[in-house]
Point group: C2
């Protein structure tokens, strides 16, 4: 992969001076077009070996373009708030919004490469990490983000020369640290890890762009031209070419037997049994949340369901057992301006709980494959790829020790009608019933199909759906509490005393 980069590329001062003013003007224009256009974000990943001019290039890009609309993020050691969340959280949190350019100095590639080179992870885990990266980058591409991944390369001989050069001048001596020389000595073992990583994460939507790092002029013009070409190509493409559909259409089961229809929605539970159950399971939940091991896990509880199925009251039975300092309820409504400028899952990632905390989502990312699908708020291709993206998201959560409990509260069509009417009659419940609820009801079958697909495609080993028979509110609430307790108990059982 480095064959071309290993050559001694050079551009002399005169050649550089001839081209540079034109290039920076074109880059600046492209940047301003990007801001005006506002359709997509650009993320420039800066990676590669030490001494190959990564820092210089970042500074140069900042000087060529308008630095106020470039967001540079350096990723050193993660903070505690970052460490207590899945590894990708810190990158999500730093993504540039549409219309802007983000530069990541280091990124999601760093940790897998270092861990593999140090022998901390085996070939299997390395392979899994590569897969995770691929899926993440694919999602970014599908969301319209333009990802440019630069790998700054030096041959071993070039790296040695470069470090010596830097050490010679008092102006730059401070840049060379013992770590740099250590890394130089490990050049070959690093190369053995980097090469397959780069190869496997070079895809059509986001190939690695190898930059020969030895000559500053060549390096600068090379990076600048590639950014310019990529920006221009995307900007000049006609707006919103709809993405090709990649999935076969989803069809219902031939015999009309669905997971929802198979549910017995009326499950009896007498009031006194309910009260006993509530006491038992709220007590249990509270105890679990105060277990010392709870500080090593976290909980994400997702509530979806038919309108008027009792999500709100079920949530309150859960929160009633928890300390208000340790949970957060996130009602999912229309996204804000800052959220709309980001990939779809961004607004959920921002609420991922730290260790020891609970986040309850009142509606969730599943809106994508429910309301957005049924109402046509997003393109077909968008909701179809969402299943995979959601599974990836939830896998990252559970892999990090987060309990993901997902509840679909199901009521029958008749029961819904009874509740709608009751809501209209009770003054203080009137806010709960809107014309939209009546409209949704007309699309009952379409929603039912969407729910069944959702369950089929996102009820996974790591994050199964719990379908809750909710015609009887008492039964539903107890089932939610009990399921949540069981899931947390399992997770606590997995906590190792040392870890």
């Amino acid at each position: 992969m480095f064959d071309t980069a290993d050559l001694e590329h050079r551009i002399d001062k005169a050649g550089y001076r001839r081209e540079e003013p034109e290039l920076r003007e074109a880059l600046l224009n492209a940047q301003y077009d990007l801001m005006r256009d506002g359709r997509f974000a650009v993320l420039i990943l800066i990676a590669g070996v030490e001494g190959a001019g990564k820092g210089e290039t970042v500074n140069l890009l900042n000087s060529w373009m308008d630095p106020r609309h470039i967001q540079v993020s350096g990723f050193g050691l993660p903070s505690d708030e970052e460490r207590e969340r899945p590894p990708m959280w810190r990158f999500w949190r730093a993504l540039p919004p549409k219309g802007k350019i983000g530069i990541f100095f280091g990124g999601w590639h760093t940790e897998p490469i270092l861990a593999r080179a140090a022998g901390d992870i085996g070939a299997g885990e390395f392979s899994r990490r590569i897969d995770e990266v691929l899926r993440f980058e694919r999602m970014l591409a599908d969301e319209g983000l333009l990802l440019l991944k630069f790998w700054f390369h030096l041959s071993k001989a070039q790296q040695k020369t470069r470090l010596k050069e830097l050490e010679k001048s008092p102006k730059t001596r401070w840049r060379v640290t013992r770590t740099d020389w250590n890394l130089y000595r490990q050049y070959d073992s690093f190369a053995k890890v980097c090469e397959p990583f780069l190869r496997k994460t070079s895809t059509g939507e986001a190939p690695w762009l190898i930059v020969p790092g030895a000559d500053p002029n060549y390096r600068a013009l090379s990076v600048g031209r590639q950014i310019l070409a990529a920006l221009r190509a995307r900007l000049d493409r006609p707006a919103a070419a709809p993405m090709a559909e990649r999935d076969p259409p989803l069809l219902p089961a031939l015999d009309n037997l669905t997971v929802l229809r198979a549910l017995k929605l009326d499950r009896p539970l007498a009031k006194e049994d309910y009260e006993r159950g509530l006491e038992k399971w709220q007590g249990r939940l509270n105890g679990l949340a105060r277990d010392p091991r709870f500080r090593r896990i976290a909980v994400v509880a997702v509530f979806e369901g038919n309108d008027a199925a009792g999500k709100g009251s079920a949530i309150r039975r859960v929160t009633g057992a928890l300390d208000a300092r340790h949970y957060q309820t996130v009602p999912v409504a229309a996204p804000s301006e800052e959220e709309r400028a980001q990939p779809y899952l961004w607004r959920f990632w921002r609420h991922v709980p730290r260790r020891g905390f609970v986040t309850i989502f009142d509606r969730s990312w599943y809106g994508r494959v429910l309301v957005e699908r049924v109402e046509g708020f997003c393109a077909e291709a968008d909701w179809k790829r969402a299943y995979t993206e959601i599974n990836d998201f939830e896998e990252q959560l559970t892999r990090h020790g987060v309990v993901v409990a997902k509840f679909w509260l199901a009521i029958g069509k008749d029961e819904q009608m009874r509740r709608f009417k009751a809501r209209e009659e009770t003054a203080f419940k009137r806010f709960k019933i809107t014309p939209e609820d009546w409209r949704n009801r007309e699309k009952w079958d379409a929603y039912e199909a969407a729910v069944c697909d959702m369950v089929d495609r996102t009820s996974t080993d790591v994050a199964p759906w719990t379908l809750v028979e909710a015609n009887n509110k008492y039964f539903a609430r107890i089932k939610v509490l009990k399921t949540l307790c069981k899931a947390i108990e399992q997770a606590l059982g997995r906590v190792k005393d040392g870890g």
Copy 2:
């Protein structure tokens, strides 16, 4: 203060049932009016003794109103990211946006009270903390936030009864911890701290509302009614009554001698001296940033100045000496939707650096007293109170070990004209000159007056302004670098090896 609350207030079941439905309907209506109105945010602070029904009340409010538009924040131990910033940062970060209700379970009152009760801080420091709270709450009120501070009270006898009651029932036994009994034993010494704290932080805009906590019915109706009354009073007030001006008008010095006019803007520095200086001070800055003690401080650098004064190029000389992983440049443009829904300083607080990091503001919170004042983008009362708010903000930063370096880059009117013209002639600099720049230039004198007032009122011991003579860019850049280095050196000198 607790005389009324100490009485045995009681509302029986029948009385509660009579009033509750009406109250919750009215509360819900008020909440929806608040959302529609969108003019202000509501923050409900829940404080007081253990066992007085704080948690129950939060849950009750969530069940009375629409919980999706209530944001409950519990404040336990601060996270590392919080600990590495000034204490108020975590509260800023959790403020509810306009149109919403936030409930703070615990808040900025907790730490000063606990610290004083434990004897960790003396009377003087306690008094300073009270002052800090007062100024913060005053700012919130001026920003239009409706702050309701509830103090849940129990007499010592009531607290004992309450804890015993809770312990009796298996339903609630888990709620009573050893800590609760410890706190009960310290009742009197706590009361000695709480009483003066409540007294001194009870102001016209945000008095403490004492809630007798013994009887659940009385407590619930009392809190509910007070919230309702406050919400209604504010909602029914005609929109945007302009605030009375509280300051005398600002007049220029009688002899027209101003800090700006006293500056000699042309300061010679030859190119070769500049290059030597650049090498020296960039090297110095880099060394300082890599000093192990640097991880115990942080830097906020603010760049303001005339249009075309060279802010951008001065900033690049600073960032050129830093590791891109440890600094962030924040360009200050129009606030986003989420930012507009918050108090003015919120969008700057969100960028306050952690320990070991540098944030560079390209324009800043001083926009309030510069462009917003001159262009009339905010009310006179708003920019007049901003001086105090800004000083408070910066004092909080420096008190936390953050170096605050503020640069005003000053050029003459002729020099500005030369630069405007040069920018128009150089293609890749053309983006730097807009019609707005020309318009601002027409208001030269008004801006000059605003700058002089700003310097007079915000150049403080803790965060002095550095006026930079910038007709000569070389001179200006070196002065910026040198000043910054000196400020950081001073701060490093203050770092104690143990602390």
